[in-house]
Amino acid sequence: MTAATITSPPANPAILPARGGILSSLSDLFWRRPKFLLLLMLLPPLLWLGIVYLGALLALLLQSFFSIDEFSGMINREFTLKTYSELLLPSNIDIILRTVTMAALVTVASAVIAFPIAYYAARYARGKWKALFYLGVMLPLWSSYLVKVYAWKLILAKEGILGWLLEKLHLTWLLDAWLSLPIVGGNSLSVSFTGTFIVFVYVWLPFMILPIQAALERVPVSLTEASGDLGASPGQTFRHVVFPLALPGIVAGSIFTFSLTLGDYIIPQIIGTSRLFIGQAVYAHQGTAGNIPLAAAFTVVPIVIMGFYLWAAKRMGAFDAL
């Protein structure tokens, strides 16, 4: 060997010494006990979920088994099903059915409107069009929900923008015909269930578009090509490949639109008739009426409905493609 002597070799041990310091020994500790790190990271959110969220939910559930003394207005803290029997009064059943029907209609309409938008975004939009899509979907979420609802009131009011537009198009008769219908009609769109429905669909639409888009994004183009290659018409490809694979996204989106509609009390208060939705009933009972037990019982309704909904969705195999 030629003498390539290294003068005073620098320390180059096989095992490096500990760097010292608290951070370094913490790193070593976490490396040796990865579960400890996991625990440390999960503890705050678990505490939050466990105490604040689930605790509040349990307290609520508990309240619904109390009752109110009709004469004194005091809450009687004894276990009873009296409040639930009150929930089953025809006027309250009306509220529940109205809300559930509205939530179901809003969900179906959102899914129908959202699907083509999500499909376009997932399949065709690239580069700046994709950015524009995200901006377009998210932008309404940046502004206050109240402002948007009041803006819609202006649009839907009797002398509002939509009425003006229809007048210019000589379609006022169409609007009048619609408004003269029972249930969905009214004096103007802003005081009808139709108006409530339109605003619900508008406000919750992003929550439907984004999950569907995410689901479609995960469907490789080669799958639709393979379907066509094997002889499936575009309609068959949609029915047998695209829709089943988008279904988890649709279900995820519908959980948002359905539960948000079930619980909302502001939109029907600003735009709609004087007939109550669940959210408004809860608001009224816990506020002026001071009937916390009934308000709590009303709140349990959407929770139970969502539970059934998820169970049914799972039974239908909506989560199989996840």
Partner: protein, 332 residues
């Protein structure tokens, strides 16, 4: 005889990119035809043109004599084995295979029976109940094959179907595909960038480069008589010889090619032949490949196992038979 697939001046341009540029091609019925080329050479686009996923910008495609212009994929009796297999993740293996029959409205019992048979054909009997995610790469490949064969297509298109498999599996699948093709008599069109695969499986090979076909011929033709430098370079390890060099030995100023196995290596320097220095040795098992430097020209030669090997840095003399030197076309 009507060709299974014929291209007449077919082009497919994407903006300024000429993915396929004025290609003429005839694939005969019952043929195992390989499209070989580097990525981006237009071979996959040609396959997609036959399948109908792409429409030509210009030219005509005929499938068994019938004009394919404007015919959507679902009306072409042509099926594809996709590179990523494209198995439907929400369906089990049996329903995947039966899909082509299902969309044609064939009853459940009948199509499942046919699917079982197709699975047996690709040696996966009894796998019907599994989901694609529960299969290995090789098994998915077979399912994709069974699914594509269930409609008894006139032409089966295979887009680099063996690309994702490991060497051992790839070799056994190559053999099986070849046997399957012979027994079914279906025209296979096979896209690959692996020259070994193309040469070993195909009846004829088309070599693609930059949207054009550089050469079409039998594997022997392509291997032994490359028409251009690109083909010689791409199809294997041939030595490409510049005109100056060729003129000395063949008397013509043309590019030439010489197979590494045609070169004999003599260990004494200053002997007869081309003087060269050994740069490196690569042991290949059945032979050893020598990298040689012949006065600036980089050459490769293979020495069969068992023969005496020179050392790196050693000077050697190279000889070859004149007729082994293949002359390429002028301007190649």
């Amino acid at each position: 005889m009507t060709p299974a697939v014929s291209f007449t001046k077919v082009s497919r341009h994407f903006g300024t990119v000429r993915a396929v540029d004025a290609v003429d091609l005839e694939i005969q019925p019952g043929e195992f035809f390989a499209m070989l080329g580097p990525s981006g050479s237009g071979k996959t686009t040609c396959l997609r043109l036959i399948a109908g996923f792409e429409q030509p910008t210009a030219g005509h495609i005929r499938i068994f004599g019938e004009e394919a212009q404007g015919v959507p994929p679902y009306r072409r009796n042509v099926n594809t084995v996709f590179q990523d297999y494209a198995l439907f993740p929400h369906l089990n293996v049996l329903d995947n295979v039966a899909y082509g029959l299902m969309v044609r409205g064939i009853g459940r019992a009948e199509r499942h029976k046919a699917a079982e048979e197709a699975l047996a054909l690709v040696r996966l009997p009894g796998f019907g109940a599994r989901k694609p995610s529960q299969l290995s790469g090789g098994q998915r490949q077979r399912v994709a094959l069974a699914r594509a064969l269930i409609n008894r297509p006139k032409v089966l298109l295979l887009d680099e179907p063996l690309g994702a498999l490991d060497l051992k599996l790839r070799e056994s699948m190559q053999e099986e595909l070849k046997i399957l093709q012979t027994s079914l008599g279906i025209t296979f069109v096979f896209v690959t960038h692996d020259q070994g695969e193309a040469l070993s499986m195909a009846d004829r090979v088309a070599v693609f480069n930059e949207g054009r076909i550089m050469q079409v011929g039998t594997p022997q033709d392509i291997y032994q008589k490359p028409r251009s430098r690109f083909v010689a370079d791409f199809v294997g390890s041939s030595n490409v010889l510049p005109p100056d060099f060729v003129q000395r030995y063949a008397g013509q100023r043309r590019w030439g090619s010489l197979r590494p196995e045609s070169i004999r290596v003599a260990r004494q320097a200053a002997g007869e032949g081309v003087q060269a220095r050994v740069v490196a040795l690569n042991y290949l098992g059945s032979a050893t490949r020598l990298s040689l430097d012949a006065g600036g020209l980089r050459l490769h030669a293979t020495v069969p196992a068992g023969a005496a090997l020179p050392e790196p840095g050693e000077h050697v003399a190279l000889t070859f038979n004149r007729e082994q030197l293949h002359l390429m076309e002028e301007g190649a």
